[in-house]
Symmetry: C4
């Protein structure tokens, strides 16, 4: 019944180690089926190298397991909250990729320093602050989703334009219209984070990209008159 998203979820998860974004069990990808109101997600604690497609778990938007014999990722409630409220997301990726996680640990936004960054978003990659003790002691993974959404609201960001976030002291989440885009965003984020790290340690007084250049690069790829790519 959910074969399509289970297979898509499995394949997207297997991209993470291939792209060098995860080791051991440090990550998870989910893929949504909006019509059926469910999403497929990696089982908890299963190493990537032994992951099988039929171990993928199906959950509804309250994180209730609908199909599957395995326990879903411990981060399932975070995915569920985001799918419920951000209604046009098709897939979510969570990793502890090295450089992006280091910015999260440093509790720093990733500053926009070059066109590689501007090709994908027009603002610094936002780092949401660590949660309050109350949220942590409460329904932690559920609150994690709200912490992300609240930070976007405070910043005035749209999840359709900014498809990535760092959670302070934790690690990145990325998303997209489908699994391919969400995984791509996880890879872009890590590349952008590495170059930002190198730039900041090389020249601590470096300035952010100027607005005209930010706008130009974003528009040529995502604007109405975009001319990057094959237009399909």
């Amino acid at each position: 019944m959910y074969q399509d998203i289970k297979q898509a979820c499995f394949e997207a998860n297997m991209q993470l180690p291939k792209l060098g974004l995860v080791v051991f069990t440090f990550g998870n990808v989910s893929v949504v089926d909006r019509e059926k109101g469910v999403f497929a997600i990696k089982p908890s604690g299963v190493p990537y190298e032994s992951l099988q497609a039929d171990q993928i778990v199906i959950c509804d938007f309250d994180a209730k397991v609908m199909e599957g014999t395995f326990r879903p990722s411990s981060d399932t409630k975070t995915h569920a909250v985001l799918y419920k409220h951000w209604t046009e997301i098709g897939s979510i990726v969570h990793t502890h990729s090295t450089y992006a996680t280091s910015f999260a640990q440093a509790q720093m936004d990733i500053p926009i320093l070059g066109t590689t960054h501007a090709d994908h978003l027009t603002v610094d990659v936002p780092c949401a602050p660590p949660m309050s003790d109350e949220m942590i002691k409460g329904d932690y993974e559920y609150e994690t989703g709200f912490q992300i959404m609240n930070h976007f609201e405070k910043k005035g960001f749209s999840y359709k334009e900014v498809e990535m976030v760092l959670l302070g002291n934790h690690a990145p989440f990325t998303w997209g219209k489908n699994a391919e885009k969400a995984v791509y965003n996880a890879g872009v984020l890590e590349a952008v984070a590495q170059m930002a790290y190198l730039t900041c340690t090389l020249n601590p007084r470096v300035n952010r990209l100027k607005d005209t250049l930010i706008e130009k690069h974003y528009e040529r790829k995502h604007g109405k008159s975009a001319y990057y790519g094959q237009g399909c």
Copy 2:
């Protein structure tokens, strides 16, 4: 007679180069058989790429060779001391992995800066100080084991909860209930060390993780009501 632990020890050793934790001969894994009172350990100075299962050496807890034609690892006495006193360890791993060893050389604990760390232990990865001249000039590898145990005692740490240590100016040791866990801990330590290095050089004034977050992440994976993994 010792075929099981010899094979387990061989396979665990071969994981180290695969995980990027050793080059040349810079490391060793041992696996214990508590019933027989012996452990299997890598032979000294044999490169990983030519290591054979039948070269694995069997020693008792006084580091006496019980079986094998090769000389055991020069670090054998350290393993023997730890097996003798920490009676629930099943396997020990020693590497000179790049980032963990750099913290050992810097004589710094690895500060707990993120949830990747907190998923595995609730404290900074301890760095035992270099040994006294007397210990170094004495039975060096034997004393190395005591230096580790003494540091744990001084810190009030249990080897069952903190399964890794840095030895100042030297390199890391990790352990676990079995070889798979001990090798896993060596890989986790290196990943945590790399992200701590990047975080500290990016933001030298970074704060340690707050206690609620440390507790939450450790408990969800290791506590009585753990809900990470498949519970088996």
Copy 3:
């Protein structure tokens, strides 16, 4: 009709991921046919892992598509301008390789600190400043070519002797008499940039190479009495 340069362009593009210089779609190589007055270039937004030789696009020096059903790289006008004015270039490579791009983001020349650098050029790798708002809002990729050429003119550099440049806030461009040389230069630039990064962060007060050593290394490889290589 353009089969030779299409194949050469395809093969040169495929070298970039192999050398670790690109991920996803972050780069492009072009190869010129001076007699026919056209160049072959990578199609826009096509990932390296699915790139096919028959997707390569042929353009003239005004960036007009002469053959091919795909849209050419969004950077095509930059290539066209350089081919038109620098009449002895045979191939151009653009990447967002990690260390070279970090210097571009830091808006720093790559200082000449060792003989690896001096074997290939006698000056710091120049970093052209970001363009004026007018240029960015205008015909951006076309102006990018002029920004590079203007910087070389201001510096008094010859494109025949200095075959690489960083564009501030963006990334590197390299070129050469043929595709093999242009790709080689992209790889050399990244290696030189990485070692310069490490040298500068290790010893911020380091001095540039002295002139006699710069001259000696460059001359033994490129001078009239060069004795490096097989002389063919």
Copy 4:
């Protein structure tokens, strides 16, 4: 006639890219035949990926070609000088490996900070200063050999105990009784250099290893009562 050292030289050269110590043509290995008074060395400017055993060149200790149709490495005179004066060397390796070269560019010795270093030598890896203008303008590669030997004499080092050197602004040379050991030393040097870089940037006030620990680690591997390895 020289088949043995040609084959040994070829195989040793091919280890360098495998160990990640060279890219393109940035390195060379030579192997000596003391009885015949000649050494085999890599041809100049031939990329490692296309290198063939029959391209290896045979030279005498005055760097005169004795056999081979290719031009020998441009660094041949440096090898010749070292073989002539350091009469117990069996093989020499020159690379531009990333971290070791960065210390050479920074004109810094690699400080002895851990037991990985002390397992191989008891002193900081020496960095010879850049040569005088007179030496550079003279017989450059010949003088390079003397610069290395003079620095060892000034430091009071024996080439039999310290089998590696950095040449300021240039890159490392290592050697050993045979090709296997010389290549091993090149790999050890790069690993030690990387960990020293990370240690120094993590804790700039770090102290060198204390003497008792240096002596202990070196002696257990190289002393009269060495107990590391299989004793063969």
